[in-house]
Symmetry: D2
Subunit: 386 residues, 4 copies
């Protein structure tokens, strides 16, 4: 991918967004190793991805805390290294100057708002002279929206808009704006995003690639290697219970049982696919403000071996959500820019490696997802070289 690439984050002033902006700046300044960046893995070295130095970041947000201020808070929380905000002050301010006001459903006529968001994206591309723009949603998780006939086709959506209705949840409004403005879209949250027939149709019409959903950064990442292990060894998993303690903004959102429902659903979905049979077991998400940006997941897996012997595996994952998610957001920006440059349209199932709930795929096993990603990337490289 040659030229300049724009990476536009919905919710850019949140922890993940701020870490992505500050981390990109730090990487560019040689202050940070490539740790956590999948696109810097040796296996990807021949893939013609955009250089980190060619990426320009901006975004929408509805909060008012600036990126600089948020970065300082993340230093206090032990997420960002102490000197980083000062060292990257210019880049943080530059990104901050590109932040545009986000969309809330109260903002009146939805269609006008979608057009306004799309204009923000076009303006970003023009101002920064970008060849490709990728939009990624890293804002708070939404509740699952009510069923709505306007979701079922682009025509029905347009009719609803024409009647002044606001049929789309916020995340989907951003996806619509992205497609209308000629941008790729990915949803790093479990929100609806582009996963409605009307938006699938719109993406196809506009020839835009998209990916999702719900970044796989902790408990589910482990499930995606442990469940296949049990399967390959013909050990029968009998129950798999998980408890997730979260402190950050997303923890507070997920304390809302409705938002939580959308999260736990995407967490459970893959397990049955990987094991080949349903498995008993609750998944809890608890909000513990004290934990800040850190999350702790404890999983208890009961399984059966030869002659019915019962055994258990437990694990505790103590991770920093922003630190795990932010590099994957940069990875997705680079990979979707590659997709744009190749003219890929529609859901990109080969990016399932990054997600709890991959679009257009029922493959949840991490290694198989990795192999699919590498194959896709290699084909892209060939396509580009050709």
């Amino acid at each position: 991918v040659s030229g300049r690439v724009g990476l536009w984050l919905v919710g850019v002033r949140g922890s993940v967004g701020t870490t992505a902006v500050a981390g990109l700046a730090a990487s560019r300044a040689g202050m940070a190793a490539a740790t956590g960046l999948v696109t810097e893995h040796q296996a990807m070295q021949d893939v013609p991805l955009p250089e980190l130095s060619s990426i320009v970041m901006g975004g929408h947000d509805i909060t008012t805390t600036s990126l600089t201020k948020r970065a300082e808070q993340l230093v206090a929380a032990g997420v960002l290294p102490a000197g980083l905000p000062l060292a990257c002050a210019d880049e943080l301010e530059a990104a901050e100057s590109r932040v545009r006001h986000g969309y809330v459903t109260e903002d009146g006529d939805q269609y006008s708002q979608v057009l306004r968001l799309a204009d923000d994206l076009r303006e970003f591309a023009r101002q920064e002279q970008l060849d490709h723009v990728v939009v990624i949603n890293v804002s708070s998780t939404e509740p699952i929206p009510a069923a709505n006939a306007a979701h079922e086709s682009l025509a029905a959506l347009q009719d609803a808009w024409a009647r002044g209705e606001a049929p789309l949840p916020v995340s989907s409004a951003y996806a619509a704006a992205a497609f209308l403005a000629g941008c790729a879209f990915a949803d790093f949250t479990p929100s609806t995003g582009a996963r409605l027939p009307a938006l699938v149709e719109l993406a196809n019409r506009q020839g835009m690639p998209w990916a999702g959903s719900d970044g796989k950064t902790g408990e589910t990442l482990l499930k995606s290697v442990l469940a296949p292990m049990f399967d390959m060894r013909a050990l029968r998993v009998r129950s798999w219970a998980g408890t997730n303690l979260l402190g950050g903004g997303d923890g507070a959102t997920l304390a809302d049982p409705e938002a939580c429902a959308s999260k736990t659903t995407s967490k459970v979905r893959g397990l049955q696919a990987m094991l080949g049979h349903p498995v008993d077991g609750p998944v809890h998400i608890d909000y513990i403000p004290d934990l800040g940006d850190w999350k702790t997941a404890w999983d208890h897996i009961s399984f059966e071996g030869f002659l019915g012997t019962r055994m258990t595996l437990q694990f505790t994952w103590q991770g920093c959500d922003s630190s795990l998610a932010a590099p994957l957001v940069l990875d997705l920006g680079r990979l979707l820019a590659l997709a744009l440059s190749r003219g890929v349209a529609g859901p990109v199932s080969a990016l399932g490696f990054f997600f709890k709930d991959p679009v257009a795929s029922d493959e949840h096993r991490l290694v198989q997802q990795w192999q699919a990603l590498l194959t896709w990337a290699a084909e892209s490289a060939d396509g580009e070289r050709a």
Copy 2:
């Protein structure tokens, strides 16, 4: 594989051996599901493996507790289901009648003893009208033997034997006997087995396949999926400490620091290969008689993400060693019988899936090992059908 297959266990009266004998009987009688048997995995259903009903078991041992008695002890320890010894009484007695006295280095002239062991194997094959015999070592772990020039070539070994020396450790004497008698050999322990140049030469001369070593049933199994996970996500593992609490016979053996050395070496070897860099961290093996046949492994992994953030993963694996190992021993019996029927000679790297320290391979990642196994098995199927 058509015809009858012999599965001969060195150390057959131990926990793993007894569980394998009793479990095969139970499976055959429809008393046990195929749980834990990799060769019964759906992905293997087209592989022409010998039927479980065609397998006949026997073995060498130096202890005097009968298989029947040992099976009762394993019921009391919660390893075998309560009714099993009674329900399989005939099969246990039949296998017991096939047990021959094992070899200890004090037994005098090593070469004569190797010939005697080989005669036992030939007699087993003749008596039971077996088409193929597979020998698997499931006896206690040996200390690492001292270097010896007689290990370096078959000629040197034969010269040493001719001089009345006993250059081979016990496990290697069994391997030699297996090859001389036209049997495949696998070492399920970290002992030397066939891993000496002299024996590699002998296996090749005899055209025999062999596999090893050190069955991967717990902590290392988890490492073989978790280490690749960190690698694929570009997360840098900084330390990986492990503690293994074992109660069974092998625990007692491994309390001997020399035997333990051979075990911890094979445990550590793979981690560096999978991560691509050395990693700090001790591996302990502790003998706690109270735990009986159960083992508990606790691993603590410290890793680094984007911008240097430190995170940790811990797991606790509580497994029953015999229940995990016994089905793999049956799997290896079936797969090496397939190799024998195909005329495969030398180390079978495609069986690395089963081992902590795979022969002729530096691949330790479980999924890649699984894919190699399936490919090899499919080729074998083709070979056999042709």
Copy 3:
């Protein structure tokens, strides 16, 4: 305490009840050590408790599975040793012959039913020539009952009964019957039991001792030593999250959110008392049928040290509920028989050692509860000797 003591369990055919009956028989036959029996602790050796051999067991139940059958199921589940049901067959059958049909709210007029239950207790005492009878509720946890004016005084209760109403939850009906029949009562569950003003009045009028509630056998037991540890060291606990995975009958009951509410309330109550300040943190109880009689609790405690440094403690408790609870039920039977013999009336706060939610006490610290128990027992001994 001289003479014969009756121990009557409400829910005697459940896991805890059956384990208590079978365990008492085994202890008496010298087949079991005193492990788990607090009243056999060396510190209690001078307390004049009734001999185990003088205890006669019976109970109410509404299920139909016999004690003998249930004991066999508990063997299969690994709770009781294999030979126990056969070795104790006579005692199990004798206890089974003393089981009387329990009470359900549908049984019609509540007052008549309470009188019927009381008659069952008097008949038990007469038939078995008992000097004292202790009734302990080990049946499934009830939901928290709705507020009812009839709970507030004995007179109001009697009026409601006279009007044909059924104001008491089932556990309280048993408590009323116990007091009317001159028996001590303890509630080993979080159900209401004697904890209503009307029943407190009745116990006082009848001069009967009672104790409760909710046996402390796992997570809360640990809290009662760990929370004081943090307090004594002036370490500030910031959050304490707990997950309980249960498989047994009580697990199924607690899957009902209303019953669960009564359980989690009694679990949380003590923590604040021990730490001196409220602490954030959810407590989950999950039903995982696969776990059978076993329960696993995982707790994650985040605390702060000098200069605000954040640290964590996690624990995993893997216990067999029946095995932990049954000896405490026998202990309570002996200690309440001692109370009866001393003429103690009303709530016995010194038995708080056994309970998550101790009556007449806000002391939740285990060691202080232990010291109070030993003091009370020593005073009882003095009282009796005098």
Copy 4:
């Protein structure tokens, strides 16, 4: 205790020493809560301890990194809060100016050196106009010294010194100097310190109080509440295995098997005393540089309940060593100043609450130690008031 109190740390420039100096300054400046300071517990509020503001710190050390520099390193390691070194710059420099060169066995004539150390202490008292001085060893753990006849009596020690010998390990030389200079002494490490007959005699002759040894800050702290819990509930502990991962300076020292021996001995000693019977189980201490000042302990406890049922408890303690130890060092300074003011001489068993290996006591149970400490402190208060 009125007047000014000197707190002199052997190894003051280490992590614990620096945290104590910086933390005292922060507490004094109102920048830190009393978290972790046992002497600020409400239960101690009537004890006439010296005010934090009356404490002056100094110490011996053989390293050259200044307290200010070390404090900055501890900020980078996440042990001290970011602004602390700057905010306490004056106090750190003042303490640094009081650091005197420590003693190493190569320093020539031991007796002269002991006199020199004692002079340093007297000079400290004079310069700072101190009423009482307490010396606490927080330097690296020593190997267990060889037996030596000069340890057995003060006369023998003096004879050996007169012959120019160096019979004392370094920690004991400091203890001797403290007693000679009229100071109290405590050993926060497992080194020998005052625990030699010759030094016990010297302390008595000089009328000095002393305490030790080996601060109880993690795994052993938990043992001291959990082992009594098992005992009170008559649950039989069958094995107790522990693994300690340490990264700091002490971790490196303890990688030396000889030093480690002295540590694991003091860790194991108490368990048998608390449980009343020996218990199987290894204790490992591993040095993992990556962990820095943090330590992680994992303990696995196998225990038996009623009818022999086997159950387990596991815990993981993730603590910051300096943050846990430093406030206890300040506590010991205040409590030994109280002892000095009361004229207490000899080993102070009531301070066993702070130590893994308490002097003059076989009480390892935390609550009983706490009660003994409160009783002693109350008596001291009475003594002082009288």
